[in-house]
């Protein structure tokens, strides 16, 4: 960006998304490049390698129609920076941050490098306090904590995008300044349109930035999309003091883009042909969440990914799981029963929940209720397996209460319309209605006084029947 940029017309080789430029000087690794085609069309790229006077440039769009004889390349002189600030809020852009909402380009005097810098671990403030999603199953059992990264693991065909947009549309942080950044990667046009539709209201209110890279847009562009989202989010959070929720979907598409670039560069493949550095690459995104000691604001990341063939040991969910602090797992089996969102509470976990829920943060009874719900669900599942083996007639009365409880839990608490935002009180009260199906002595994780306060002193069996019929 300093001095007149030199225009190189010396493209030697084009291979997949890569262009090799000869005769360059002063070009640094990871610099941003602009490629002007003979037709005048402008494309963008990143320097992947420099060797003497050779530069290998990865084109973000694609290389179709690029004629080495007529195209020229200029280099920015620095790794890519983008303008940052509140002017992004309320906008809809493509995966490279170019507006597609008919508005003016996004400009600003403050810029930041899209790659970010690692946060000094000693200034990190451990996450605390909740981001309330308005989704009962998440708020009650896997509370999202400010500064956390909590992915949604899904499989193809489940409504994970609907869930993600619903969270983006209705999440809140109890009245403090709050913004949402949504980065969609490799979405179909139908999904993209649906997301725009759901998020329109929040976007119009100037609380939301939407970055959309659709499935037919260049794959390589996807490498940039989450970085733009996080760079904007970091500035909103740590300079402007807002709480920012970043929703990135679908990370599986992102990882495929990384794999494609790696293959084009001829790198040695690791598991499933993903590059060996996929973990570090994902970490360079996910680790941009957090809070900083002595500053207001937080970045919370909610990545959404589809597990190819439902395989949780596939590198994308596996490496994600190693970096993130828990996971929300969607289940085809739950969806098959007509429940939305189809969350499987027993395989879902928010590791930081105890920092985000409970006395002073949500409600005094929250953590105990959550522990009791999970314990009871685990028991209910065992009972259901047993019932399948021996027949429900052989179950004890207590065991049958657990089955009633599970039904009430699913229908009263988990099942929720996609346009329904529930308050935390509503969510926890629904949890109590489900717990009412259980005999009192079974509620071992809840202090007796709390049980009495919420369920009164009536006989448990009647309560159970009531909750079930209520459902």
């Amino acid at each position: 960006m300093s001095g007149p940029a030199i225009e190189y017309g010396t493209i030697d080789e084009v291979r997949g998304p890569l262009v090799i430029v000869r005769g360059v000087s002063g070009v640094g690794w990871d610099e941003f490049a602009r490629i002007r085609l003979g037709s005048g069309e402008l494309r963008h790229g990143l320097v992947l390698e420099v060797d003497g006077d050779l530069a290998v440039v990865q084109i973000l769009e694609d290389t179709h129609g690029l004629d080495p004889a007529t195209a020229t390349v200029t280099f920015d002189g620095a790794p890519l920076r983008i303008p940052v600030g509140p002017q992004w809020l309320g906008r809809v852009c493509n995966g490279r941050g170019v507006p597609i909402d008919g508005g003016p380009p996004i400009v600003g005097t403050t810029t930041a490098p899209v790659n970010g810098s690692p946060l000094n671990p000693t200034v990190r403030q451990p996450p605390a306090d909740p981001v309330l999603t308005g989704i009962s199953a998440i708020d009650a059992l896997t509370t999202l904590v400010r500064g956390q990264k909590l992915p949604i693991f899904s499989v193809a065909g489940l409504p994970h995008l609907e869930l993600a947009t619903q969270i983006a549309a209705q999440a809140s942080v109890g009245g403090e300044p709050f913004s949402v950044v949504v980065a969609g990667m490799g979405l179909t046009h139908t999904d993209a349109a649906a997301a725009r539709d759901v998020l329109e209201e929040r976007s119009a209110a100037g609380e939301l930035l939407l970055l959309l890279n659709t499935a037919d847009e260049p794959v390589i562009e996807r490498i940039l999309t989450p970085r733009i989202a996080l760079t904007v989010a970091e500035h909103l959070a740590f300079t402007l003091g807002r709480h920012v929720l970043v929703v990135v979907a679908d990370m599986t598409n992102y990882c495929e883009a990384v794999r494609e670039v790696s293959a084009a560069r001829g790198e040695i493949p690791a598991r499933h042909a993903y590059p060996g550095y996929l973990y570090s690459d994902l970490a360079s995104l996910y680790e941009r969440c957090g809070r900083i000691r002595g500053r207001p604001g937080s970045v919370t990341i909610l990545p959404v990914l589809t597990m190819p063939a439902g395989d949780i040991t596939h590198p994308v969910p596996d490496l994600t799981g190693y970096i993130t602090e828990g996971q929300i797992v969607l289940s085809a089996e739950v969806y098959g029963r007509g429940i939305t969102p189809p969350i499987d509470p027993l395989s879902s976990l928010s590791r930081l929940m105890r920092h985000g829920a409970g006395p002073g943060r949500t409600r005094d009874d929250h953590l105990d209720v959550a522990a009791q719900l999970l314990a009871a669900l685990a028991r209910a599942r065992q009972v259901r397996e047993l019932a399948e083996l021996v027949g429900s007639g052989a179950l004890t009365a207590t065991d049958r209460c657990y089955l009633t409880f599970e039904d009430a839990f699913t229908q009263v608490l988990v099942d929720q319309r996609v346009d329904e935002a529930r308050s935390l009180d509503d969510t926890l009260d629904r949890a109590w209605r489900a717990l009412a199906a259980l005999p009192r002595p079974e509620l071992t994780m809840l202090p007796a006084t709390v049980v009495a306060a919420h369920l009164g002193t009536v006989a448990a069996a009647d309560d159970g029947a009531e909750a079930a019929s209520d459902a």
Binding site: P118, P121, T122, R124, S280, G290, A378
Partner: protein
């Protein structure tokens, strides 16, 4: 340590991520340090050819251009070892992070130690001193006396020593055999510090975690690995060991792990009272934080830095524990580097040298007689994060060959909220017999038989449970049903241990033994009842919650024993 030729500048030729090729750089040796570009990014020489030097850079190389200068420093990657390590937080190259900027941009972290320390001489001028012998002490460097030793490789007469007073870290406080000795000395991290001899016999490291101390113990100076998929509680278990084990010094290496987790460790350790010294736990801990988004090559170095720091304290005669979370991320750094230099890949893209690199790391553990003849030890505990929980992947498979103790974490146990999720089927301890011998001499002659009993009971229960799934529990004979019952009591009442519990996060060995004995006693009593003709269903219906709650509700072995008597007496009433 500086050789001739330091300061000669070369020029960058090729940049591929953290790997550079440099031209015209002369007078460098393998593994020498260099500084790259105007920002003076640190890097290390990893390959030498007649016309090219390959360098791995420890920071983000964005913007580095062919033609940028590269300066050889003429010394290998070394860590400054001295007072001020305890209680500190450092990056993978042992550069202090406390006080560093909020955002770690390339080139901002520097080793700049301008603190002064109170030094008191111990040796007298004219005294002959060998390597590792004590010259004096620093009295204000944490709860442990910080001994200033004659550095390895140096010996001679103490020609001069400064009087008691306050001195900066990088200034000689003594002259031995013509060489000045600073309070802080440098040591190349990839080389093990020398010692006199390895010591025979096994002394257990008490971790305060029942399943470890009673079933899969770790000896001082041995090595352990903790493989486990995500969500199996690996990090919590390592943190518990760091908090409660009875070593003198803890070196916690966060190697390619989560930033929030590191923040948690730093905050936790700063708040926790140290049961041994009454101060803060952080005061005898060295934290090396190289989170997953920090430069990957510094992650590669952080493991060696950590074990070097531990050896430094070992040489002062202390027991140090290195906890590395996670060695898999370190191996990934090795793989990334190998791939960028075009090395031939072996298994899953890892370099062929992976196994020997792992072996060399774990072999730096040891209980030794130091150069000055004192006893000290370095115990290594490494987490392994197998991709997809696959224990046959190269890092896990190789690690298992080199460690003495394996604590395998199991996802099914973790999902059932059985923490620590150490599986009895997949874990082992190769020093168990030797540790049993130690316990015989130190007041617990029943340790080995108790452990054998527990291991056999758990294995038998697993076998029976598999059978019960087929035929139903009620089809099993009474004695077998008692085994299943006792195994459940053992799992829930002894092996499970809550890291969050104020009373049970740490369990003393005698209380741990008492809890186990209680369950074994209950089993014996139940078997007697079966023999006396009491139906198994009746015994199974007994409320065993006093046994299960004992771990939370008792604080010493005596209370457990009294409770055990009551439970057994209650059972006798069933006759």
């Amino acid at each position: 340590m500086t050789r001739d030729g330091a300061g000669a500048a070369g020029r960058v030729r090729r940049v591929n991520g953290p790997v550079l090729e440099v031209e015209r750089l002369r007078g460098v040796a393998m593994a020498d340090l260099v500084e790259v570009g105007a920002a003076r990014l640190p890097g290390e020489v990893v390959a030498l050819r007649p016309d090219r030097v390959t360098v791995q850079v420890y920071e983000y190389t964005g913007g580095i251009t062919p033609g940028d200068p590269v300066v050889a420093l003429g010394r290998p990657l070394a860590a400054p070892l001295g007072p001020g390590l305890l209680g500190g937080v450092f990056d993978g190259l042992l550069r202090p992070l406390s006080g560093a900027p909020v955002w770690l941009r390339p080139g901002v972290t520097r080793v700049a130690d301008d603190r002064v320390w109170s030094f008191e001489p111990v040796a007298e001028v004219g005294q002959p001193l060998g390597a590792g012998e004590e010259i004096g002490r620093v009295t204000d460097a944490g709860p442990l006396p910080h001994r200033v030793l004659v550095p390895p490789g140096l010996a001679g007469t103490l020609e001069a020593v400064r009087p008691a007073g306050r001195y900066p870290a990088h200034e000689p406080v003594a002259t031995v055999g013509g060489t000045g000795v600073d309070l802080t000395t440098w040591w190349p991290v990839r080389r093990a510090r020398p010692y006199r001899a390895r010591l025979d016999g096994a002394v257990p490291l008490t971790t305060g975690q029942r399943v470890l101390d009673a079933v899969f113990p770790l000896a001082l100076g041995a090595s352990a690995a903790v493989p486990g998929g995500f969500g199996t509680g690996k990090t919590v278990l390592l943190q518990q060991i760091a908090k409660w084990c009875d070593a003198d010094v803890i070196v916690y290496v966060g190697c390619g792990e989560r930033g929030n987790e590191m923040a948690d460790v730093i905050e936790d350790f700063a708040q926790l009272a140290d049961p041994r010294t009454g101060g803060r736990l952080a005061d005898r801990t060295v934290i090396i934080a190289n989170t997953s988004n920090m430069p990957i090559m510094a992650r590669e170095a952080s493991i060696y830095t950590g074990v070097t720091v531990a050896e430094f304290y070992r040489d002062m005669g202390y027991h140090a524990v290195v906890i590395a979370d996670s060695t898999s991320r370190w191996a990934e750094a090795l793989r990334e580097f190998a791939s960028r230099t075009g090395a031939l890949p072996a298994e899953e893209g890892y370099p062929a040298g992976l196994a020997s690199a792992l072996a060399a790391f774990y072999e730096r553990a040891g209980r030794v007689s130091t150069a000055a003849g004192q006893e000290g030890s370095v115990t290594v505990v490494g987490a392994v994060s197998p991709p997809g929980g696959d224990l046959t992947e190269p890092v896990t498979a190789h690690t298992q060959r080199f460690v003495r103790t394996l604590w395998s974490l199991d996802r099914d146990l973790a999902y059932a909220r059985h923490y620590p999720a150490v599986t009895w089927a997949g874990s082992y301890c190769r020093d168990a017999d030797a540790i049993g011998g130690w316990h015989v001499q130190h007041g617990d002659p029943g340790w080995a038989s108790r452990r054998a009993h527990v291991v056999a009971l758990l294995a038998e229960a697993d076998r029976l449970a598999a059978m019960a799934e087929l035929v139903g529990v009620t089809a099993l004979p009474g004695p077998e049903r008692m085994v299943l019952l006792a195994a459940r009591l053992l799992r829930e009442g002894v092996l499970q241990q809550s890291a969050l519990s104020p009373t049970d996060a740490r369990c003393a060995p005698d209380r741990s033994a008492a809890l186990t004995d209680m369950v074994l006693g209950v089993l014996a009593a139940c078997r007697d009842l079966i023999e006396a003709g009491v139906p198994a269903t009746t015994i199974e219906a007994v409320d065993f919650s006093p046994v299960l709650r004992a771990r939370e509700e008792t604080t010493d072995a005596g209370q457990v024993e009294r409770r055990a008597e009551l439970v057994v007496a209650g059972l006798a009433e069933l006759r």
